[in-house]
């Protein structure tokens, strides 16, 4: 059974890669055209645009989630009342689908009847908030929706990290008279490294996969302004019958993910080895102590 799974995973990935070096369009053809599909891919304005969009989205989305998630976690960590309620509130969007998220925000950002018209009705007739219908700001609108959905996750991860920090650190800081924000910035933040790393990896993988929220919110529009790679692939695969090109694009996507994962895997393996070594050293010294 294990072998079957391996076969399915590895096999289908390899098959995709194989198609990406053939001239297949509607049906797979087993000729070999080298990297022609890749050349075509990067000649395609739509693909390049979708990569740019993904980069912009990724940078803002990850930064937004990390900053807001960290702030939320820090504020919640101050022994506030109703902590449980607040955590529930901040994490509930994460339980919602990307589709629902996209649709709600599509409605809220609707310039005719949404936030813009509401604020205008409050007596600010010049208020402008039409990101979703403007080509150069539509990605920002998607970032807003996605950050709303995902930053509760970062909060949960960071909060777990914060709770793992020893009380004595705070004691020491208080005795030394170091202001709280300094402690957070210079001591706690670096200590949260592993949590931040995990959050970063999870977020960046979801950036590469981003699809549902765009389809639901803008369908890639206005024009092609919010096109993303995952959508490019699905369109070429299912609608435009361009499977060679789609496979080349998905191979590029795969390599991106692997490039993102490799350092993280390495760091984790490294950390595991180190903790193992220190555990062994500890045990050794314990037995020595017992012998003595």
């Amino acid at each position: 059974m294990v072998a079957t799974v391996l076969w399915v995973y590895v096999g289908s990935v390899l098959w995709s890669m194989r198609i990406s070096v053939s001239s297949s369009r509607t049906l797979p053809i087993s000729d070999f055209v080298g990297l022609k599909q890749y050349a075509r891919l990067f000649d395609s304005e739509r693909w390049v645009l979708s990569l740019q969009n993904m980069a912009l989205f990724g940078a803002l989305f990850i930064a937004g989630c990390l900053v807001i998630g960290f702030l939320l976690a820090v504020f919640i960590d101050q022994r506030v009342r109703a902590e449980g309620v607040l955590r529930t509130v901040f994490l509930y969007p994460y339980a919602m689908s990307f589709v629902a998220t996209g649709l709600v925000w599509q409605w809220m950002l609707n310039p005719e009847l949404g936030l813009q018209s509401t604020v205008r009705g409050w007596g600010f007739p010049n208020f402008k908030f039409d990101w979703i219908v403007q080509q150069d700001t539509v990605m920002l609108a998607i970032v807003v929706a996605a950050v709303w959905q995902a930053c509760g996750l970062v909060m949960a991860l960071m909060l777990a990290g914060l709770r793992g920090i020893d009380e004595s650190l705070w004691m020491a800081a208080r005795i030394e008279g170091i202001p709280k924000w300094r402690v957070y910035l210079s001591i706690v933040l670096p200590m949260l490294g592993p949590s931040i790393g995990t959050a970063f990896v999870l977020l960046s993988v979801s950036v590469v996969k981003v699809f549902d929220v765009v389809v639901a919110m803008t369908q890639g529009g206005p024009g092609l302004a919010s096109e993303v790679p995952a959508k490019f692939i699905i369109d070429n695969l299912l609608v435009r019958a361009n499977i060679g090109l789609a496979s080349a694009a998905s191979t590029v996507l795969l390599l991106t993910v692997l490039a993102l994962l490799a350092p993280w895997f390495y760091a984790r393996a490294h950390a595991a080895r180190r903790s193992e070594r220190s555990a062994r050293a500890l045990r050794a010294s314990a037995t020595q102590g017992a012998a003595a």
């Binding site: 059974m1 294990v2 391996l6 995973y9 096999g11 289908s12 990935v13 098959w15 995709s16 198609i19 797979p28 702030l71 504020f75 919640i76 607040l86 529930t88 509130v89 901040f90 994490l91 509930y92 969007p93 339980a95 919602m96 689908s97 990307f98 589709v99 629902a100 709600v104 925000w105 599509q106 409605w107 809220m108 009847l113 949404g114 936030l115 018209s117 509401t118 009705g121 709303w148 996750l153 949960a156 991860l157 979801s206 996969k209 699809f211 549902d212 389809v215 639901a216 995952a230 692939i233 299912l238 789609a246 496979s247 998905s250 191979t251 996507l253 795969l254 993910v257 994962l261 895997f265």
Partner: protein, 272 residues
């Protein structure tokens, strides 16, 4: 103060959804998103459930709901069973190539589905399963396996190995130890797994869109079709009612499960 503001901002979309879904269209056209309805109506909810149109069909979101239930139940059970079995085999029996298998799975948890999509479509088509319920369930089970295996493997890693050895000495075989010893012990992690899988599969859009053909479209895909392919006047209240209906299942799971949900995330949830 910061927290209160943030909480309001986070709740705003939910409030807007609820308010919009119980307003008549005349009030929505006034363009005040936050106003409490003058006349509360449940008509949009009824319409969303029974008669909202996706393209030419006007059966409401009800159809998608049934499909989603039909997809989620077997997919959740199968993926958890297989994940538990894999995790158990990896932690205790350590077959040859376990390490390689583990690396593939870990990577599999992260790679975009698109990479495997075309071969899988072809494979399903060859088997005659494309666009059928078993086909969709199979794909969900397959894609759910990496995360489930990781979850169970990490859990079993904390089970003392002596326990397994004792069971072995008492003559327990592979299956017997799994069914009678490990599964009953796994209840806490099974709960976490159920929460994760139900939410993830219910919220899935891509797999439903690609593999479900026409007949088994899950609720998320149908919702998107209702809202984004309508011609003529857009019934925002019906749309929001449909969106709420679609989100009801995962939100209920989330609210009821509370801390377990967070545990799922903390347990190395790598969904997305």
């Amino acid at each position: 103060m910061f927290l209160a503001t943030a909480a309001v901002a986070f709740l705003l979309p939910l409030y807007v959804m609820v308010v919009t879904s119980i307003k008549p269209m005349e009030e929505i056209r006034l363009g005040n998103l936050f106003a409490w309805p003058v006349r509360i109506t449940l008509e949009p909810w009824v319409q969303a459930w029974t008669s909202a149109c996706t393209g030419l069909e006007c059966g409401g979101i009800r159809v998608g709901f049934m499909n989603s239930v039909a997809i989620v139940v077997p997919s959740t059970i199968l993926s958890i069973l297989l994940g538990a079995l894999n995790g158990y085999a990896l932690s205790f029996w350590r077959p040859r190539g376990a390490q390689a298998f583990f690396v593939v799975l870990l990577t599999g948890a992260f790679i975009p589905y698109q990479v495997m999509m075309f071969p899988l479509i072809r494979a399903l088509a060859t088997l005659g399963l494309f666009g059928t319920l078993p086909g969709v369930v199979l794909i969900h089970t397959l894609f759910g396996m990496p995360v489930m295996t990781l979850l169970f493997r990490n859990y079993y890693a904390s089970v003392p190995h002596e326990l397994f050895m004792a069971a072995r000495i008492d003559g327990g075989g592979f299956w017997r130890i799994f069914v009678q010893l490990m599964l009953p012990m796994s209840l806490p992690i099974v709960v976490v797994a159920v929460i994760m899988q139900v939410t993830a599969i219910w919220n899935d859009f891509l797999i439903g869109l690609v593999f479900a053909g026409h007949e088994w479209l899950p609720m998320t895909v149908q919702l998107n079709n209702i809202i984004n392919t309508t011609t003529g006047e857009r019934l925002y209240n019906v749309n929001m009612a449909a969106t709420l209906l679609t989100s009801l299942v995962p939100l209920t799971v989330y609210l009821v499960s509370g801390r377990w949900f967070v545990r799922g995330i903390a347990a190395g949830a790598v969904k997305g």
